[in-house]
């Protein structure tokens, strides 16, 4: 797929690169590939990577993209992958002004990938790594048959959200095998007891009974802890299964591959609003201040407004992100922060506040380095912003069977938004016990925070986990405020009320 860019686009690329560097954007080398619409759908279906392991879900995505393209419902404007060098795709047949817009946008993304700390541990040679995964899985398929391998991948993908979303920094360490050790309480009942050396007849005085008892109690507790497996509830369910499920070598490898790819994509989901906002901020800055020719203004405005438009009632991450970045820039340019500003009670003065300190640009660069969506919204969304953006919370009204606007109070808007973003909008599921009821069964616990799981899907997922764990699996959750223990023993799904 080595399409040389035509001279005009090549010049545009160089121009944009220089401007971006001038602003301090620090990117990997970016390689633009010019592809036609069919190819771009192919690459998009594969998540931007030209070579991935064979799986029907990519085909489904492709089918969907193809159809929506044919019916003019969707047009992919940008496709960029977090890799060094960074690959991005331009669609043949788009107007030159669109291509420039995409290029500028891509420079924003790539800068974000390289500098945002949540991406620090992502594999920058993922293009190669994905290709390796593809090769491995194809080998397995050649040896074992397509369907066997595919079924297992299906089961793994069904739980690919059960990773520790926030452990991206620790590069996802897995639980150690050694914690599996269960010590026999009989054999070493007295080993490790601390006693003072003495003569026999002094025993009761030097090592009084209470002292011995305390020692024994402490020891028992220690053993209890050891016997508990995992010692602490494990959030990285995939790692737990990789380590402890009775898998064959190839299965273990596939589960690891699925897990690795899930961790690679996790930061992108964690920074969607920021990343898109940052890229949109830069494409609009670069385009409007430098690159646009007079003749291109109208088309640019049209397409830019298309990317940041919100349909009534909807929230567009591009729009939210760019507005928040601009808001931050303005506030730090004018010095609208800190104790003095916060304590000022005169809205007129606050409105006209301008200390001309010009720290805005510096601040947003800092923000793009340190934050993810949750902290970004938490730190910078304030009352004025919510009002200006006309944000509201909505909910489902059972009585009318419709979604309705519930509230415009900015605190509620903020907490609702934060809630939907935390843990990436995924339920938190932990491995509580890998030897449940001392029968080698698996107990998962859903940390219920107000939202129920979708019940049918949960039971289906449980079946898939059973296929991996190959002993009965249980999920502790709540349904309509009632504690439930869902179980699957390989034949039937059981449901019990629980505390």
């Amino acid at each position: 797929m080595r399409h040389q860019l035509p001279p005009e686009l090549h010049r545009a690329h160089q121009e944009i690169r220089e401007i971006a560097r001038g602003y301090g954007l620090n990117t990997f080398d970016i390689i633009f590939e010019l592809v036609d619409y069919d190819e771009i759908n192919e690459v998009a279906a594969l998540g931007g990577f030209p070579n991935r392991y064979p799986h029907w879900r990519f085909g489904m995505e492709y089918d969907y993209l193809n159809k929506t393209y044919t019916y003019g419902l969707q047009k992919i404007y940008e496709l960029v992958i977090n890799n060094d060098p960074c690959y991005a795709y331009l669609q043949k047949g788009n107007a030159v002004v669109d291509q420039k817009l995409v290029m500028a946008h891509v420079y924003g993304h790539c800068d974000f990938f390289k500098n945002n700390m949540w991406f620090a541990h992502t594999n920058r040679k993922m293009l190669d790594e994905m290709a390796n995964h593809a090769t491995r899985i194809r080998e397995f398929q050649d040896q074992l048959g397509v369907e066997v391998v595919e079924d297992f991948i299906d089961q793994c993908l069904s739980i690919d959200n059960l990773i520790d979303q926030y452990s991206v920094f620790q590069n996802a360490p897995a639980a150690k095998k050694s914690s599996l050790l269960v010590e026999d309480p009989e054999s070493d009942a007295h080993r490790g007891l601390k006693k003072f050396q003495n003569k026999d007849y002094l025993e009761n005085f030097v090592n009084p009974r209470s002292f011995i008892e305390e020692q024994e109690k402490r020891k028992r507790e220690g053993q209890e802890k050891l016997r508990k497996f995992p010692a602490r509830p494990e959030r990285d369910v995939l790692a737990f299964l990789v380590n402890f499920a009775p898998l064959e070598g190839w299965q273990q490898e596939i589960l690891s591959i699925v897990r690795e790819e899930a961790y690679y994509f996790a930061p992108q989901a964690a920074t969607k609003i920021m990343n898109e906002g940052w890229a949109s901020y830069w494409h609009s800055t670069i385009m409007t201040k430098h690159v646009l020719k007079d003749s291109e203004v109208v088309d640019y405005a049209d397409h830019h407004s298309g990317t940041v438009s919100s349909r009534p009632g909807q929230l567009n991450p591009y729009k939210l992100g760019i507005e928040l970045f601009r808001d931050i820039e303005e506030r730090w340019n004018k010095g609208k922060f800190g104790k003095e500003y916060d304590e000022c009670e005169d809205s007129g003065i606050k409105e006209r506040w301008d200390k001309q300190i010009g720290l805005g640009r510096q601040k947003i660069f800092e923000v793009r380095k340190m934050h993810n969506d949750v902290t970004f919204i938490d730190s910078f969304m304030n009352e004025e912003f919510c009002e200006r953006q006309k944000l509201f919370t909505y909910g489902f009204n059972r009585r009318t069977g419709q979604y309705e606007i519930v509230d415009r109070d900015w605190r509620k808007v903020k907490s609702q938004l934060l809630f939907s973003l935390s843990n990436f909008g995924q339920p938190i599921i932990l491995v509580e016990d890998g030897n449940y009821q001392n029968r080698g069964e698996l107990l998962l616990v859903h940390q219920h925070e107000g939202l129920d799981l979708e019940y049918d899907k949960a039971t289906e997922t449980l079946k898939n986990i059973f296929a991996i764990w190959s002993r009965p699996v249980h999920l502790m959750t709540k349904h309509n405020s009632q504690g439930k223990l869902l179980s699957f023993d390989g034949k039937e799904v059981h449901e019990k009320d629980a505390a």
């Binding site: 797929m1 192919e42 594969l46 070579n51 064979p54 799986h55 029907w56 879900r57 990519f58 085909g59 489904m60 492709y62 089918d63 969907y64 593809a134 595919e150 069904s158 739980i159 959200n161 989901a269 969607k272 609003i273 919100s310 009534p312 009632g313 909807q314 929230l315 729009k319 006309k390 944000l391 509201f392 919370t393 909505y394 489902f396 009318t400 069977g401 419709q402 979604y403 606007i405 519930v406 415009r408 808007v413 609702q416 939907s420 973003l421 990436f424 909008g425 995924q426 859903h446 939202l451 129920d452 799981l453 979708e454 019940y455 049918d456 899907k457 949960a458 289906e460 997922t461 999920l475």
Partner: protein, 367 residues
């Protein structure tokens, strides 16, 4: 570079077709795909196949949006709203999967274990057809083969040194011209004619027509896949019969009584007038609630069938659709009279669920 995705796509389609096959019985009885038929394809709605995940139920979760409106303002009902969640949420979409009629017929055959139809007089009938297969150097101008002509001219000019790469003008002369030419081929001909007859008297309601419609769709699909060309004719009757087009066939409702013989007479006329019995494989399907006007008319029907109609046909199928007025006597009369005749099949269709069984009865003979 990306042959991979094509394979994934193929695999996906395979899986989807597998799903359709699994649910074929459901599709067959619900009539969901009737009316979604193009020329060669039927589009079948399939729910997107989804890998299950632990995830939140959508209904409870509210979200954040932007725009005008007071608290209480409705945002509408559709599941679209889920898209507003700023997190990662994927909407579910229904896929329209296109399946060719041929494939559908094969699935049907597998599902119902239908034997392949043995066309009447196979091989004995033949038709001549012209096939343009060859190239000749004489012929009429309207068959001139431009590409071949050009190639001949190019060859000639290169060989004779007249070709100049700087100025590549090709001028054909008379002996360069090439013409398409044809061959006569003998083709075994097997054409089929389907005649649908339906009772549209007052006692046949919408539900009954729906059943007939679904059933005829599958009959069409099957017979069409067995023959090269098919003709379909429609006859409706109450006390009198007339030929109508497809649309009228399914949408007419009369209030009169029922004289089944009128339809059989018209059917016979139609065959005698337009079709040569030797050349056509003829299928007749008759749907009614079986409430014939009188015993004499029933007798007339039986005589007509015995002496004239059935001998001309590959298969005569009578489907008795149950209506809320109960169902009539006619099916019993036919069964008594045609017990041993393989060319006449009767089937009782009580409700939509019975479509499956009755299709098997109708088509299971391999006629």
């Amino acid at each position: 570079m990306i042959s991979g995705i094509k394979r994934d796509h193929q695999r996906f389609k395979q899986i989807v077709k597998g799903k359709i096959k699994q649910n074929l019985k459901k599709y067959m009885t619900q009539g969901e795909i009737v009316g979604r038929q193009g020329k060669d394809y039927v589009s079948i709605p399939v729910h997107q196949i989804d890998l299950p995940h632990f995830r939140f139920g959508q209904r409870q979760s509210g979200g954040v949006g932007s725009g005008e409106g007071q608290p209480g303002t409705s945002l509408g009902q559709d599941g679209d709203q889920n898209g507003q969640k700023a997190g990662s949420s994927e909407g579910e979409h229904t896929l329209d999967v296109e399946v060719s009629l041929q494939e559908l017929a094969e699935m049907l055959a597998q599902e119902l274990e239908l034997p392949r139809i043995q066309p009447k007089g196979q091989g004995s009938l033949s038709a001549q057809k012209n096939r343009y297969t060859g190239i000749h150097n004489v012929g009429p101008n309207n068959l001139r083969h431009l590409k071949r002509t050009y190639r001949e001219a190019l060859k000639r000019q290169i060989v004779s040194g007249q070709y100049d790469p700087q100025n590549p003008v090709i001028v054909p002369i008379k002996r360069d011209f090439r013409y398409r030419t044809w061959k006569n081929v003998q083709q075994p001909q097997n054409n089929a004619l389907i005649i649908y007859m339906m009772d549209v008297s007052g006692s046949m309601g919408d539900e009954q027509k729906e059943i007939v419609r679904t059933e005829s769709f599958w009959i069409d699909t099957w017979i069409r896949s067995n023959y090269k060309d098919i003709d379909i004719r429609y006859i409706i009757h109450d006390a009198t019969a007339r030929e109508v087009d497809e649309n009228t066939f399914y949408h007419t409702r009369e209030s009169g009584g029922t004289l089944i013989s009128s339809a059989y007479k018209l059917c016979l006329d139609l065959i005698q007038k337009d079709y040569s019995v030797d050349e056509w494989n003829i299928y007749a399907f008759h749907f009614s609630d079986g409430d014939n006007w009188s015993a004499e008319d029933t007798k007339l029907c039986v005589d007509l069938l015995k002496s004239d109609l059935v001998p001309k046909l590959n298969l005569f199928c009578y489907g008795q659709v149950e209506s809320r007025y109960g169902s009539g006597q006619f099916i019993k009369d036919l069964m008594e009279n045609f017990q041993s005749d393989e060319r006449l099949v009767t089937s009782k269709i009580e409700n939509k669920e019975a479509i499956y069984r009755s299709l098997k009865e109708f088509l299971g003979k391999g006629k």
